[in-house]
C-alpha cells in the first residue's frame, strides 16, 4: 500500500514548514514522507482498541513549580542570540498588525 503524496501537498507542507526546496530536495523529501506514511499504515494494522493514547513517555504526572521568581535579568544572554538588535530588542522583518 504505497502512499503517493501529490505536488499540492508537497507545496503546502513546504509553506507550513517555511521551507523552499529545490526540485531534487523536494523529490527526496517526498520519498521520505511517503515511507513515513507507509510506516504509519503498518502501525494502523494493529488492534489498539481499549488502549489509551500515550501522551508522555514516562509514567510521571503533576510536575509543578511554585510561583516564585527565580530568574533575574536575562536580557544579556537572550540578546546574545539576536542576529540584529536595537534598544535591547530583536530586529525582525516588518510584520503587519
Amino acid at each position: 500500500m504505497a502512499n503517493v503524496i501529490s505536488d499540492e501537498t508537497m507545496e503546502y507542507v513546504g509553506i507550513l514548514a517555511k521551507l523552499e526546496l529545490t526540485g531534487e530536495e523536494k523529490e527526496n523529501a517526498r520519498k521520505d514522507l511517503e515511507k513515513m506514511l507507509d510506516y504509519v499504515d503498518k502501525l494502523n494494522e494493529l488492534d489498539v482498541s481499549g488502549v489509551e493514547p500515550m501522551s508522555h513517555i514516562f509514567p510521571v504526572n503533576n510536575v509543578f513549580r511554585e510561583d516564585e521568581v527565580t530568574n533575574g535579568d536575562g536580557s544579556k544572554d537572550t540578546m546574545a542570540n539576536a542576529p540584529a538588535q536595537k534598544d535591547n530588542q530583536f530586529i525582525v522583518p516588518k510584520t503587519i498588525g
Partner: protein, 477 residues
C-alpha cells in the same frame, strides 16, 4: 417585506492570570520591565530548555472553572500549536487542545428579558506571546519577549449571545467572577482581558448557523459594541446583495471604527497540534479540588445579600460597593474598625468615586487607608468637625492619606460648638444685620440664613451651623 436577521455571537476571552511568574519558567510577569529583561532560555524557546508548569496557574484555572460551573478534567495535558511568527520564539505555542482543564460550564447573565444562561464550551491554559513594535524609522519590527510565557486562560463560550448588550453582560460577569477569585485584574484597556468575537447572522426563525467571522483586537466595551453592530450590518449587506459571508479573521480598528480582513497568510489555520512531550500530564485529585473549592471567596451576589442583612445597607449601595472587589474589601476593612457602614458607603460612593473619576483613576485604586476613613467618620460623628470641613479634610486624605485627626488639629478646623465663644460673634452679626432681624420678626423665618452665613464666614466654616441657628433664635426670642 424586509427580512429580519438575528445575530449569533460566541466569545473567546483571554485572561492574563495574576501570577508572580510565567507559566513555565521562573521569570517575573511584572509589567513595565525594560525590553527582554524578564526572559530566559525557556520563554525564548531555546533548544534543550525544559518548561515546568507553575502550580498557581493550575489553581487559578481550576478556581475559574469551578466558579463558572465547569466540569474539571481529571486527566489533562498540554499540546503544541505550531505556527511561525516572530512573537512566538518556539515556533509553537503551548496550549491545550485535546484535554482542556475545564469543560461544559455556564454563567447566568441579566438581560432585558430576564436571566439568561451562557454556556462555556471550555477553558484552557496557555502561554502569551511576545510583543511586536513597529519601528517606523527603519520599517522593521522589534520584538520584546517579556510577555512571552505569561500565563493565560482562554474561556470559550458557546454561540449563545444575541446582542452586544448580552456580550457585555457576559464579559462583566466573567470579569467580576475572576476579579473576586483574585485570578486576574481583568482590565480590557490594559490587555489583561481580551475578547475575540465570533459573529454570524441568520434569518429569524432559522435554526442553521450562518457563516461566521472572527474579530480580534477589541479592547474596550465601547469598541465591542461598535464592532458587533458594524459586523452585523456588514454581513447583512453581503447577504442582501446576494453575496456570501466569507469565513475569515478580521481585525478591528478602533480609530477607523471598522474591521478589515487579516492577510490570509497570517490566517493559515493548520496548527498541527500534538501533545507536548516536555510537560507531564496533570491529574487532578479529589483533595486538590476540595482545597480549591474551600478557598473560593464570598462572591458578589452573596456579599450583596449579606451587606443588606448585616449592615442594613440599601441594595443599591451594596451593588455599587461590591461591583469592584477592592472597594468591597475596603468597605469591610473600614467597617471592621467600627465605622458606621452607611457612612462608609456614602464616602465611597460619593466623594471617593467623584475624585477617582476627576483624576482619571480606576475604581480599584483607593489611595488612602481604611484607618483614615474610619477616623474621619469618627470626627464627624462626635461633632468635632462639620460636614463641609469633613469634605475638605477628605480631599487631603484622598490626596496624601493624611491622618484626619492630626490634620484637623494642625489646621485649626475643629468645630466651634462652644456656645460661649460663638455667642459673641452671633450677637455681633445680629447687630450688623437689622434688616434680616426685622424680616425674621416679620415672619420670614428664612431671613436668619444671612446671619448664619456671616457667622460661618467669620469662623472660616468651623462653627457648627446647628448651634449657630439655635443661638440666633434664642437671642431674637
Amino acid at each position: 417585506m424586509a427580512k429580519e436577521y438575528e445575530t449569533v455571537i460566541g466569545l473567546e476571552v483571554h485572561v492574563e492570570l495574576a501570577t508572580k511568574t510565567k507559566i513555565f519558567c521562573g521569570c517575573s510577569t511584572a509589567f513595565g520591565g525594560a525590553p527582554n529583561t524578564h526572559t530566559c532560555p525557556v520563554c525564548t524557546g531555546m533548544p534543550g530548555s525544559l518548561p515546568v508548569l507553575n502550580k498557581k496557574v493550575l489553581e487559578y484555572a481550576v478556581a475559574v472553572g469551578l466558579a463558572t460551573n465547569c466540569d474539571i478534567t481529571r486527566y489533562s495535558k498540554f499540546d503544541r500549536k505550531n505556527y511561525f511568527y516572530p512573537d512566538n520564539p518556539q515556533n509553537y505555542q503551548i496550549s491545550q487542545l485535546y484535554l482542556p482543564i475545564c469543560r461544559n460550564g455556564h454563567v447566568d447573565i441579566d438581560t432585558a428579558g430576564g436571566k439568561k444562561q451562557i454556556r462555556i464550551h471550555e477553558i484552557h491554559m496557555e502561554e502569551d506571546a511576545g510583543k511586536l513594535i513597529h519601528d517606523e524609522w527603519n520599517d522593521t519590527s522589534l520584538v520584546d519577549y517579556n510577555r512571552s510565557g505569561v500565563p493565560l486562560i482562554e474561556i470559550v463560550s458557546e454561540p449563545d449571545m444575541r446582542s452586544a448588550d448580552e456580550v457585555i453582560a457576559y464579559l462583566e460577569k466573567l470579569r467580576m467572577t475572576i476579579q473576586y477569585l483574585g485570578a486576574s485584574d481583568c482590565k480590557l484597556n490594559e490587555g489583561s482581558m481580551r475578547a475575540d468575537v465570533n459573529l454570524s447572522v441568520r434569518e429569524v426563525g432559522s435554526q442553521k448557523l450562518g457563516t461566521r467571522t472572527e474579530m480580534k483586537n477589541i479592547n474596550s466595551f465601547k469598541a465591542i459594541q461598535h464592532a458587533i453592530e458594524g459586523e452585523r450590518q456588514r454581513q447583512i449587506e453581503e447577504l442582501e446583495e446576494g453575496r456570501e459571508v466569507i469565513q475569515e479573521t478580521r481585525r478591528w480598528d478602533d480609530n477607523k471604527e471598522s474591521s478589515r480582513p487579516m492577510r490570509s497568510k497570517e490566517d493559515a489555520q493548520d496548527y498541527r497540534y500534538f501533545p507536548d512531550p516536555d510537560l507531564t500530564p496533570i491529574v487532578i485529585s479529589d483533595e486538590f479540588l476540595a482545597k480549591i473549592k474551600s478557598q473560593e471567596p464570598e462572591m458578589q451576589d452573596a456579599k450583596i445579600a449579606r451587606y443588606q442583612k448585616e449592615f442594613d445597607l440599601p441594595e443599591y449601595d451594596a451593588q455599587i460597593i461590591t461591583s469592584v472587589k477592592k472597594m468591597a474589601d475596603f468597605f469591610e476593612d473600614t467597617v471592621a474598625l467600627g465605622a458606621n457602614p452607611k457612612k462608609v458607603s456614602n464616602w465611597l460612593m460619593g466623594e471617593t468615586m467623584r475624585l477617582q473619576k476627576e483624576k482619571g483613576m480606576d475604581q480599584d485604586q483607593i489611595p488612602f487607608s481604611p484607618e483614615n476613613l474610619a477616623s474621619l467618620i469618627a470626627l464627624t460623628e462626635d461633632g468635632s468637625i462639620n460636614s463641609s470641613v469633613a469634605k475638605e479634610v477628605f480631599e487631603q486624605v484622598f490626596a496624601d492619606d493624611v491622618d484626619p485627626k492630626q490634620y484637623v488639629e494642625e489646621h485649626g478646623l475643629k468645630s466651634m460648638n462652644d456656645e460661649g465663644a460663638l455667642r459673641g460673634i452671633v450677637e455681633e452679626k445680629i447687630a450688623a444685620n437689622p434688616k434680616a432681624v426685622e424680616d425674621y420678626r416679620g415672619g420670614k423665618k428664612k431671613a436668619i440664613g444671612a446671619i448664619v452665613g456671616q457667622v460661618m464666614k467669620e469662623t472660616k466654616g468651623k462653627a457648627d451651623p446647628g448651634t449657630v441657628n439655635k443661638l440666633i433664635k434664642e437671642i431674637l426670642g
